[in-house]
Symmetry: D2
Subunit: 394 residues, 4 copies
């Protein structure tokens, strides 16, 4: 097969700025690796920390010019928007509660947004961002990054092509164990804000990992989630938000599903998985072995589809950089989101239509808001002892 | 290691009779293989089919004496009870709706019972059997056979010993695909009765496979199921009972769980699995690779415990016939139930206390009734749109 | 699918006797379980130990009549041959060095033989048994038991049907770790005789496990082994025979292979595996997960063929007792050998042609002798520092 | 755990140039991704193709300044060496036969080298490069990239720490299927030069993939390879070099090994694996699931060590960018080589001692030459019908 050109291809690089992601942060570094993997994007500015000194040092670490290291994101939005060589997009990798104000500031300044999940801490704020994005006619990509895996995209494409028939059942799970003990009380910074209602939102477990499972299920299945019945639990004494979620799902059209998310599932590190069963076939994928996709037409043996190998679809090939058997991973999938977001931004700025494949594959502000609709519905359902609650984005 | 003696050990064989299990039946042959694996049990009588000619031919197939081939189980109960060399236990492998009347007939005749799951088609009938068993002071074993796997027994023993701490989360699933299409309408006999309310009970999917997942979860965890919230679905047009079940569970003491059972999960043949997460460790097991048990103490690498290999517990060793790496399977696990049931019956007849390990490992009439409590609670919950419903056996 | 009838089918049972396999032995109990699984065979006599008291007690354990418990196998051969209800076949499960004399005694007495592997301790003795078997026109089955696994038989059938094209490469391995330490010096009886040249033959590792890998490779591939180049090693100090073997293979027709056998491969319990690569496809199977067969047509995704599931061949179905996903294991595979051997013996005695499938699937005295040709060639090659040495049975 | 800083850390970037790797090449793009992942290296010059127009267009693709796009590598060596801002290292990603002349040119010009494997097409040329590197006192890294995987480094570190005891057995394999058919005759460029003796050297299969398995075995085990006995085969009609290699190995100190390499192993894409068995424990790793390392202390259950998870060694952590369960892959491992090579080069230029961990982990010109010693020994042995042949680098 022919692999996607993984280099810049001579094009001018897209200039991005980053808010959050300074020293000691986790996901910011992942975004930067993903952004530079294909050499089509350059980091030109940053407000990398709410702490000015950390912001400064982090900016220097990353080789930013001193005049483009900002202590305040509002300042950055204003000044970058004013520069002729200003950033063309902002990447938001702060704790959840800042996604909304930061995104708003940059949208207001006319700058496209690439924002980490969850889109916001409430559905109302998420809807505000939809409205603002539409009003400004800007690009708003949400890094629900599992959509970037080639085999995830292949699964979606196969379903869209009717290969599994009508979907009946969807099982999605994201289980991990890093919050098995109250490490937020012991100074673990990542755990602190993720279990703090003021910074994480109404749910820790769903906001942190549940939305990934939810998005993966919707992205692959193409289904619309209708309503949920949830049982959220806080197992660790002293924890302020849930650390385990069991959610039943009903989809438009009649499919049913289960979503489980746990941060106390000892022995699982980042075990994300999806199973989709239709009238004609079934598909199964797992995030810790992302190169493989199980596909079983009813009455036939299971096929192991391997990224880069036989029977890869166009979308799988489009997102593939390595030959089969040279494993790609998390960063490569993430980089596919960056590549596609860059295409959408470049197209918008050039006034041309974007590559339809990139458009279709990029989770946007509406997808992000669906995550909030899901979280709020699950939290509400759980508070009402599992009453079925609409999770539709209205 | 020293393996369990798999032969008769010179002891007189237990005489059993079988009701159901004639030509074209499935599970009866499994019971017979399991019963004879250790050469401690002999089949001495049978009412193997409701059809007299099939009963006769099936009995001849099995080498029964002509005078112990019965056309009617009531007749068999009466006459075997009267013989000095009469059967010491009856094995019931009929469709579900006959479990109760057959068991009742033999209990009434003073004969111990080994009955397939589900125990009955209603909880009321199950409770009648409990009462009768107690009144008669007889043995009543239910072949919830997954409890016979050595690694399942090991998991239970480890949990009982506190190795995973307090249980927080239980995920049980039994998914398969053989009812993906309406094969009951095409003359498949097994599918016919299993999807017929008159013969299967109030649920097909839960009665056929859900009770296995339910029993496995309770047996291993040692927890008591408190209440359930269920979403049962019939996906296949024309089907008269559910073919998919999603069930949330709450256990006494605060643990939470999810149980999924599906007969339309294309690509899964008999995929039974269990995950139990506690405060100190996690355990995972799957029925299609039953020789392995994943065990992860929190903060340590996952261990793969292999049947017959290092770190096997006493119960794992007790149920093991082969060295590690010479795989045991379904029949061997099933045979462990037969071995233990035979011990309970022999002990009762001898007026002695049974081996406590055999007693603890054998699902009995109460365990069987718990399955019905679970089915009825799930069906009721589903009808009430998922309202949490008690699944306790009261 | 329809499963093989696993019960006797009303036929008179084949009467067998056993030499070896008394208390504390390992493989004898496996043979007995395998023999009785289908209820077509009964153990009628035994010389179960060279120690008369052990022989007596072992016989009583197994419910033998006192007059058919023998202290000496020659006595047993003579007296059983003379009885009208004498055994119809002898099962030989002694240490290796006794296979030849015991087999000879029973062949001389006109009794069919089922003998454990390796057939003998030398090729010359193996050839004697071929000659005698032919002269007497008797059945001689060798329990190279991996040939009994349904997925192994399926692999063979697929190759025979041309599904992988012309074979190029064969990789066979049997690695385990039970002899990592000098347990034969610490009183472990199984280890003692298996590492004793007088009882095991010229090689421990090849005689014990290498012949399984060798036979599996030949059985599945259908190839004839031409010559070998071997490097045998004794790693454990004080051990008298090899505990590790690396063997290059050349097959008639040009295919090449590697066979590895190790008893010091820490972390492997009975890890037998086979890979066969042809011009059109590849097949892979492993003995610790025997229910699955990987099949990859060139340029297509890998298929996971599961026993009992879709795309099973006639031979896989013939050897299958359980639905897919209810795992079968070592005993069931072994029982397939017994079922087929019983058919060959019954046919011979009845003067009719046997079921061709049973005939084709049963390793016989010639296959057993091929194992000796392989062992002797490998030992000779290793002594000549790896010189290519003919492994043909001439 | 704390993850390695994956960003530049504010340091000036190392300037590299590339020879080979233009449009349509494969491995060059991998090197560039690996080089830029951590943002510590910048591509400043290139002679990217022997075809001047391809070289020019490829250079423009990569954003090189026109005056640093060279049509001839000798020209590049001379002019870059003369520039004050000239490249600090050259990356050689040409077909094999050019490795030696290109490396020589840059070494002569005083420029450090990062060269793809195999180091050269003959051992003599490899030795020349050793001598020249030493004479010039330069850095020469060879991208035997599997050494970059964190779990490979962990395996090495555990062995060095004595955790598996004395090594007895090493099994290494690299099997793939892309040369199952004569695609070199059908215009596949990668296949053309890799099977062309003039460009690939004396062996195709060993030069292309066998050296990876060889290097992996030596890197992890720490053993010195003493001699080999090989059987090389060309299966595909018309092919000019071998496409399958079976090699027995003897190591200094007495350990034994088997190495298999195949390019016709249908169903395997890039299936590299290593098993090392010692007196105390065993370790197993596979390149298609590189995040996991199986570790079994003798007599204990197997542990699954996962990158980023519990029980990771210092070296595993040093090479890790992502939390456990967010899979890293081929590029990340490759990038670890670049990170370490950059450290060695920076240290040399600064006249300081390099990080000892980086030094220990980087395959150098001597390791590269060991690969040629291995290839030549295997080819010679195969020509002498498997005679044991020294593979030592003398």
């Amino acid at each position: 097969m022919v692999y996607a050109t993984a280099d810049g291809g001579g094009a001018r690089k897209l200039r991005i700025g980053m808010v959050g992601g300074g020293r000691a942060a986790f996901i910011g570094a992942v975004h930067r690796m993903a952004a530079r993997l294909d050499d089509r994007i350059e980091l030109a500015a940053g407000a990398l920390s709410a702490d000015p000194e950390n912001a400064r040092l982090s900016g220097l670490d990353l080789g930013l010019n001193a005049d483009r290291i900002y202590a305040d994101y509002r300042d950055m939005a204003a000044r970058e928007a004013a520069r002729p060589d200003g950033i063309e997009a902002v990447v938001i990798v702060t704790p959840n509660h800042l996604h909304h104000p930061v995104a708003k500031a940059f949208l207001d300044a006319g700058i496209d947004v690439i924002c980490d999940k969850p889109l916001a801490t409430t559905l109302d704020k998420a809807k505000e961002l939809i409205a603002l994005t539409r009003a400004k006619n800007l690009i708003f990509a949400v890094t629900l990054n599992n959509t970037g895996y080639p085999m995830v995209r292949q699964a979606r494409e196969m379903i869209k092509a009717g290969e599994i028939g009508d979907i009946r059942v969807v099982h999605a799970a994201y289980i991990q164990d890093w919050l098995t003990e109250p490490i937020e009380a012991e100074g673990q910074k990542q755990a602190e804000w993720r279990t703090d209602p003021a910074r994480a939102g109404a749910s820790a477990c769903l906001a942190d990992i549940g939305v990934h499972a939810h998005n993966l299920a919707l992205f692959v299945s193409g289904l619309e989630l209708d309503e949920v019945s949830a049982d959220l639990t806080t197992f660790v004494p002293g924890r302020r938000l849930d650390d385990n979620a069991h959610v039943l799902m009903r989809f438009a059209g009649g499919a049913r599903g289960v979503l489980t998310a746990s941060q106390v599932a000892v022995g699982n590190l980042n075990n994300l998985s999806l199973k989709v069963f239709g009238t004609k076939a079934g598909l199964e994928w797992a995030g810790e072995t992302p190169e493989f996709l199980r596909f079983t037409p009813y009455g036939e043996p299971t096929r192991i589809l391997q990224r880069g190998g036989p029977a890869n679809t166009a979308e799988a090939r489009r997102g593939s950089r390595m030959p089969a058997g040279h494993p790609e991973g998390y960063v490569e999938g993430f980089a596919n989101l960056y590549r596609d977001a860059a295409e959408l931004i470049a197209a918008r700025r050039a006034g041309r239509a974007p590559d339809p494949a990139a458009l279709a594959a990029t989770p946007d502000v509406v997808d992000g808001a669906r995550g909030l609709a899901f979280i709020e519905a699950a939290v509400a359902s759980s508070r009402k002892n599992g009453a079925w609650t609409s999770a539709r984005l209205t």
